[in-house]
Symmetry: C2
């Protein structure tokens, strides 16, 4: 007699990272959301430098990669059918950090596609409802994918008061750099963005933001003309490489503030005494406010459309990751469904 | 015929540092104060760790050593005869830092006994009048000598808001550490001071400040029992050695603030990405407000008397510098006149 009981397991596709190796897996089980979490069908996802750094071994993560996304809630309830983006840090709710409303620093947190939690380069993901934000109607899917990195850029004014009279130098014209630059420029401060790529800086120039090209052959200190050293009130390091720190440091006046947005594998050697003597404040800055990011996107105050350099389906996700690592390429999107 | 014109040069004594060598010079010319500066007869001076670091080559200074002092103004005018202490940074008044009231970071500053300006381990010194503060009548000479380091300790609350509910760990029980600890404790925060010397920590215990001994054989993380790692809102590094940084870092929670008070020769290697991920703010902190320091001394809110471990005359200044380098010794004073 054959049992008429059939075990039904829905399988889904996802880009899997393990031991610095990527593979498109076509037989992942459909995730079952734990209590308090929503099942989310991914519409579109974005490749971030952190994904590339994870592939290079910045942190020993194994699982579905990806944390920038827009999707639709499939779980029953008031969120069902809503178009959402999601904060990437899922907290335990019980540790001291959580109890002190410092949730992004939960001691037992999992992080979407980065730490102990499968990410969004897949057909489905799950996230706590408390991490979700509904996307306003006038924000497109392509725009919504930028909510997470734009929130990270907004963590700068969340942590550091940038005065309209401040002289600010921002170094790095990658995706995060261009978002940070646009956010900082909204303060009305005297901002100069230093980058290596004319085409990327052009996006900022179009918005009236001053830019300068880093030229290794320039005789000027810091290899950048027209930007004075030791004059900036604030320097923001978004280069994603260890060399950015000393460069940012060199632009700062005594008593200046140095904001660090880059994460990369590797250590840095620095002269602590000079930090003390010059009374430099160094601010490590990571994830930021989603609500403010969606608000700026809805009000069309940030150009993200110019960032999209390529678009792939989930089946071509490995190729998409290769594309994202090419010099000069900004955002690569994955059309998932 | 012999001319009856006689060139009169008054000579004075001073402790001279040059090429990491100390000598008591007995034939220094009496300094002539430039326009805007006062001639000050030194009464008493204090040996600071920075003097020791200069002797060890932290900065290539040549001249009369010393910057902690109390003296009497000898120049004619409204300051004549007043007992004074003096801020150590003399500004140019014309650079951008000066024009922006950031005088301690003047780009062309000279620094008493540290940079291009003869110091106070001598019978006389000169300083701009704008650097001088009259010592209140109820502050003794021994107390007044501590104005400069106490002002440096007060730069912590000048730069960093320490909340009464903050958990603060301060590392280092040297002279500056003990002053910083007493200042920070005035905020009412939950402070623990970690040091290596029972006798030094005793000064704080007597004032009701919690202390913990750093024990290299302790099995506890950080080699200190009873102090939780990754829990402090603020960690303050006053050890004067590169090892203090990682230790202070280890006590901080995510989003915590690390105050650096130590200057020493040598560099430090650190993991910048962890500073970003944990959103640590690092604050370099140097010179501080003299007026507040004199106020706290006048109100007897800071114990400095317990710090005085030895006292020498100017003629024995070389021996005094040796004494100041002995393990366990706190403040060494020089009686100059």
């Amino acid at each position: 007699m054959i049992s008429n009981y059939q075990l039904q397991i829905t399988i889904v596709r996802g880009l899997w990272l393990e031991k610095q190796h990527l593979s498109l897996r076509k037989n992942l089980p459909l995730p079952t959301p734990p209590h308090g979490e929503a099942l989310i069908k991914i519409i579109r996802a974005g490749i971030c430098n952190t994904d590339v750094e994870l592939l290079r071994g910045y942190y020993p993560y194994a699982g579905v990669l990806g944390h920038e996304f827009v999707g639709v809630v499939e779980s029953d309830g008031e969120w069902k059918g809503k178009r959402v983006v999601g904060e990437i840090n899922a907290r335990c709710g019980k540790c001291e950090a959580c109890l002190h409303k410092n949730r992004n620093h939960c001691e037992h947190r999992t992080v979407l596609g980065i730490q102990d939690r499968n990410g969004v380069f897949a057909e489905y993901t799950t996230l706590p409802y408390e991490n979700l934000h509904e996307v306003p109607h006038n924000v497109s899917e392509d725009e919504a994918v930028f909510t997470e990195p734009l929130a990270a850029a907004l963590q700068i004014p969340q942590q550091v008061q940038i005065h309209p009279e401040d002289r600010v130098v921002l170094i790095g014209d990658g995706k995060l750099g261009l978002l940070c630059a646009q956010v900082v420029a909204l303060s009305g401060c005297d901002l100069t963005v230093i980058g290596k790529h004319e085409n990327k800086l052009e996006i900022l120039k179009r918005r009236g933001i001053k830019t300068a090209i880093w030229n290794p052959k320039s005789p000027t200190s810091g290899n950048v003309e027209d930007v004075d050293s030791q004059k900036a009130d604030v320097a923001i390091e978004v280069t994603g490489s260890p060399g950015g720190f000393e460069m940012a440091r060199g632009y700062l006046r005594g008593g200046g503030r140095l904001v660090l947005k880059s994460t990369y594998a590797g250590k840095l050697t620095l002269d602590i005494s000079s930090i003390v003597v010059d009374e430099i404040t160094i601010i490590g800055s990571r994830c930021g406010p989603f609500k403010a990011a969606l608000d700026l996107l809805a009000r069309k105050l940030i150009d993200v459309g110019s960032f999209v350099h390529a678009r792939y389906t989930l089946d071509d996700a490995v190729t998409a990751m290769e594309k994202a690592q090419e010099a000069g390429v900004l955002k690569v999107l994955l059309d998932v469904s």
